[in-house]
Symmetry: C2
Subunit: 235 residues, 2 copies
DNA sequence: CGGGCATTATTTGTACTACATAATATTACA
DNA sequence: TGTAATATTATGTAGTACAAATAATGCCCG
């Protein structure tokens, strides 16, 4: 489910390495990085590759370079918190319940609103995709199959909103939550427990009932969230 | 209100130029860019500067480079739609009512939820900041003053949610809406017309009444949205 | 002795060259 | 004709040289 983000470029590796160090707090905001020449030498790459990486991190708002002053880590308020990489680094370094809560909160805001919008604007074709995903969920025989279909269901709903900003936001939140979502699927025996919830959402979207869809989706994600919370508490 | 995003670096200029061309659709997804050497020559910059820019655009998901194949513009589904630059380029090139609607929809989803969260979790200090912003709005004597205080109000509410993802999302949406928000402030004579709305939100947050705050904020942004829509229709 | 101004030193910014690597296109050979 | 070796060509990486900006220094003069 979680794609390993394979990087073939050298500068990409440097981006990952430095990005992780910064987001994890190992290099705190305000401190200066070693100058390019030294840092390049230390990381065993050319200054060229290092600089290409720095431009990327700079674009994400993590660092700021000025002549003579050097390159320093910017305060967290300037970071592109919704950037896929930044989010991934946070998840990798700070898997605190606190942060998962924040992600789940975002999801709980977005998804009900998306369901309502989908009920209002969905086309016949888009409804078809949601139905297909639902059928796949109903027909699944193990957790793996179910997870894939579940994801397809939510994606189909998002697409039916006709708002690419919402789609983008969800996909970012979703990948960040990633493995944690697996926690919301209870024990292996009743992995289909939330199927009725999905049915209600589907029906509401089919009948073009925005408020019903919103409410049904809200129940669903709130339920999923409390499950995650329960699991988190145990660990 | 809208900051002009001044870029001192050469590669930054190239990023802006190419980014705008791509997002506006003048360079369509799927087509290959000229090879680095030619493009650098055409843009009157060194290949170094061009490449640093390409890495940034690549990080935003706009382009994809592979050896021998060349560099091609990726499909829109891969773009970081929530990236501040990408959003700014879209606003600059495609100021269609359609897109403004999508931004406004996002705002209408986020802000009420934020108000509710703020009512639940605000500290005394954060309440103080919201109150201060409200006082500044009440005391304002022209539209300019009012706009600044208004923005401060919404930011203060967002900060009281204790969720930096929400703060980040709002700030991106907000800057993108930018000038359009000015449209929601009616004619110069009654620029304070929404002050009572703000009062209700403030009171609800003070009294820690999430649902009341949500409802009040919802009324406010829905109102603002319909104003924007009305103006858009006229133009 | 202290303040303002010119100088210097240092760090990033830009340019250019050279070569490595990967992926495609071509050609030679079976 | 099919396959494998080879050539071609684009990006990837390295390294050098110099430009530009600015913090830090030190000098001069009041």
């Amino acid at each position: 489910m979680v794609k390993p983000v394979v990087v073939r470029n050298l500068h990409g590796q440097v981006v990952q390495e430095l990005g992780r160090l910064i987001v994890s707090g190992e290099i705190a905001p305000g401190v200066n990085l070693p100058r390019e020449e030294l840092l390049a030498e230390h990381m065993k790459v050319s200054r060229t590759a290092l600089r290409e990486a720095m431009k990327v991190l700079s674009a994400k708002g993590l660092i700021e370079s000025r002549q003579k002053t050097g390159t320093r880590v910017r305060d967290t308020v300037h970071w592109s918190q919704l950037d896929a990489d930044v989010l991934a680094w946070r998840c990798a370094s700070m898997p605190t319940d606190d942060f998962v809560e924040k992600l789940a909160e975002m999801r709980e805001i977005i998804e009900p609103a998306a369901a309502a919008a989908a009920a209002r604007r969905r086309t016949a074709d888009q409804l078809g995709r949601i139905e297909a995903a639902y059928e796949a969920m109903a027909a699944s025989t193990d957790r793996e199959e179910w997870s894939v279909a579940d994801l397809a269901f939510h994606e189909a709903v998002l697409h039916a909103t006709h708002n690419e900003l919402m789609i983008s936001l969800f996909s970012v939140i979703e990948t960040a939550l990633g493995s944690y979502l697996a926690l919301s699927a209870r024990k292996a025996s009743d992995f289909k427990y939330s199927l009725p919830h999905h049915k209600k959402v589907l029906d509401a979207i089919r009948r073009r009932q925005p408020e019903v869809a919103r409410e049904a989706m809200h129940k669903m994600v709130a339920d999923s969230r409390s499950n995650i919370r329960r699991h988190a508490k145990k660990a």
